[in-house]
């Protein structure tokens, strides 16, 4: 019997090696695509304005005598301590810029795959759902890390350089760990938030609307409940407020709201867990139409 030869197909006798990090190509492509979007680079650059301002603050704090004429009464404001770093990592502007960058570069992470029915293509490869999610999460982690962890570490280094001694680090030896763990916590929360929003629709504009709506609605709800009930527990309803509570706890400073910080941690952790369950449920290779 004649052999069957398929035109253009050749048998490969090599060994199939598993990628060590199968999610990495997804992350790499996601980051590359984000930077290819117009205006993304501009917004990305603008996101570093607070970091630059804080760096200037560190410089001025070390040369307060020289700037005394400009910075009367600023000694207190420019005190570089754990609260200084906590303030940077819990700034509303940073969170707003993260949302804006994710609106441009992250809203379509899962939504575009649904729209173009590309999920089937992913799962036709040796890729698990976890690998897929890790790959997508990697994109958000990258950008959140660049805006939080990286500048915070740079600020620490600048403090070291400008102060010329290790005294600051001897005074607060745990500070670097606070920066690492709180940045990681921010990465997890924003990843859950962005991926959850992205998995809810095929329409990228709709995802952007949901992201901003959910973020601001949580804050509005907090405001309204506080006005009515005058209870600090209304902070548990707001995403940024909960992040500020946890941030204050990580940096061992006074929390902005008079509620136990572990409640905020629980709320956010529960949110991340529920988001994960919902995303996994939404992620199917085949769309089921009822």
């Amino acid at each position: 019997m004649a052999e069957v030869r398929e035109k253009g197909y050749h048998h490969w006798n090599g060994q199939l090696k598993e990628r060590y990090w199968p999610f990495w190509p997804i992350t790499r492509t996601g980051i590359k695509l984000a930077f290819q979007r117009k205006r993304f680079k501009f917004l990305f650059a603008c996101s570093f304005i607070p970091a630059i301002s804080f760096a200037v603050g560190i410089y001025i704090s070390e040369r307060l005598e020289d700037f005394k004429f400009m910075a009367q009464g600023a000694e207190r404001a420019l005190q570089v301590n754990p609260n200084f770093f906590k303030t940077y990592l819990t700034m509303d502007f940073i969170y707003f810029m993260i949302l804006l960058l994710m609106a441009l570069g992250g809203a379509g992470l899962i939504a575009d795959d649904f729209r173009h029915k590309a999920v089937q293509l992913y799962f036709a490869r040796p890729l698990t759902a976890t690998d897929y999610l890790l790959g997508k999460a990697g994109v958000v982690v990258f950008f959140v890390g660049i805006l939080t962890f990286l500048p915070a570490v740079v600020l620490l280094l600048l403090k070291l350089l400008f102060s010329g001694s290790f005294r600051f680090f001897l005074d607060y030896p745990w500070l670097i760990l606070s920066v690492i763990f709180f940045s990681a916590f921010l990465m997890v929360v924003f990843t859950a938030f962005v991926l959850l929003a992205s998995s809810l629709s095929k329409n990228r504009n709709y995802v952007i609307a949901i992201m901003f709506a959910a973020y601001y609605l949580s804050e509005i709800t907090r405001g309204i409940f506080y006005l009515i009930f005058r209870t600090p527990y209304s902070a548990l309803l707001s995403l940024p407020a909960n992040l500020q509570q946890v941030g204050a706890a990580f940096f061992r400073v006074k929390t902005p709201y008079a509620i136990p910080w572990f409640l905020s941690l629980t709320v956010l952790s529960l949110f991340c867990f529920l988001a994960y369950l919902l995303i996994k449920r939404k992620l199917r290779g085949v769309e089921v139409i009822k």
Partner: protein, 308 residues
């Protein structure tokens, strides 16, 4: 016959990319096929004549009138786009009745026409199902249904047979032929010659935005015939095969590929070659493993035409 669609010096570009260039064309009632590879400019031309795009140079007229924003023309025009896109939240019936309402038909009339169109394309049983649940072929058919539902005089169909199974293709081709018999003007685009051949003999070859040739199907076939064909045959008896065919007057060249036991024949009479090959296979002990035609495609024909 008075042309229905007139294009004069039509040119359109997208930045540095040329869409179409200096197209001069008159399209009369009947079926006219635009044949060309992907990226040839067929869709660009169709978008201009349906008023979706404006030409950078030149003009296009339908029934002597400019097309852009001309509602009277749109009333008599039906367009089937190439893209697979719909209002996904609607079902087939709602999709058709909704689009029909734009023509000013009353609700009852819209329902009646929608059902007729669905029956024409064989989707009456799934009319109430959401479009997002339709298969690829069904989606293509509902697109055709929305093109014909309002009984237009001119049909512009961009790759109408794409995604259809053979039975559905035959149905659609029959439908298109019925439109021609009814005196309508149909412009169809495709990159598959046999499909076009089944619909019409009037073909316009388009490539790199320019019209390469226009004529009936036989003219195209002759072009193919005058362009030498290459046919590659793999066989353990490749040399014997070459010996048997070398004497034929339509064989222009023979090339051996001994490392893979193959021989490549160059001929300008493909039909005669295959007839003779069939005779040889039946009469002798020749065993063939593979027959391929490396240049049996539209691209090769176009490349040849471009080089001429």
């Amino acid at each position: 016959m008075t042309p229905v669609i007139e294009a004069r010096n039509l040119s359109r570009w997208y930045g540095n990319v040329l869409g179409i260039s200096e197209i001069n064309l008159d399209i009369e009632p009947g079926i006219t096929a635009l044949l060309g590879p992907n990226g040839a400019g067929k869709s660009t031309f169709m978008k201009i004549i349906t008023g979706q795009l404006k030409p950078n140079l030149g003009q296009v007229r339908i029934y002597g009138q400019p097309v852009w924003n001309n509602r009277e023309i749109f009333r008599r025009l039906g367009f089937c786009p190439e893209v697979d896109a719909f209002y996904e939240e609607l079902n087939g019936q709602e999709f058709l009745t909704g689009l029909l309402s734009f023509y000013g038909f009353g609700e009852a009339e819209c329902q009646k026409r929608a059902l007729q169109a669905l029956e024409m394309v064989g989707l009456q049983d799934v009319a109430r199902r959401p479009i997002r649940s339709y298969s690829r072929g069904m989606r293509q058919r509902i697109k055709i249904a929305q093109t014909v539902a309002h009984d237009p005089d001119i049909l512009i169909l961009d790759e109408p047979l794409s995604g259809l199974d053979p039975l559905s293709k035959r149905r659609v081709i029959r439908l298109i032929k019925e439109f021609r018999l009814a005196g309508k003007t149909v412009v169809v685009s495709s990159h598959v010659l046999p499909e076009v051949e089944a619909m019409t003999s009037e073909i316009i070859l388009i490539h790199h935005g320019k019209i390469l040739a226009r004529g009936d199907i036989h003219f195209i076939r002759e072009l193919l015939d005058s362009h030498p064909h290459m046919i590659r045959i793999k066989s353990p008896h490749f040399r014997e095969l070459a010996r048997l065919l070398a004497g034929e007057e339509y064989i222009l060249n023979i090339t051996f590929e001994p490392q893979v036991s193959a021989v490549v024949f160059e001929t300008h009479h493909r039909d005669k070659f295959y007839d003779r090959l069939n005779e040889l296979i039946l009469d002798s002990d020749l065993r063939l493993e593979e027959i391929t035609s490396p240049d049996d495609n539209l691209q090769a024909v176009f490349d040849y035409l471009v080089e001429r």
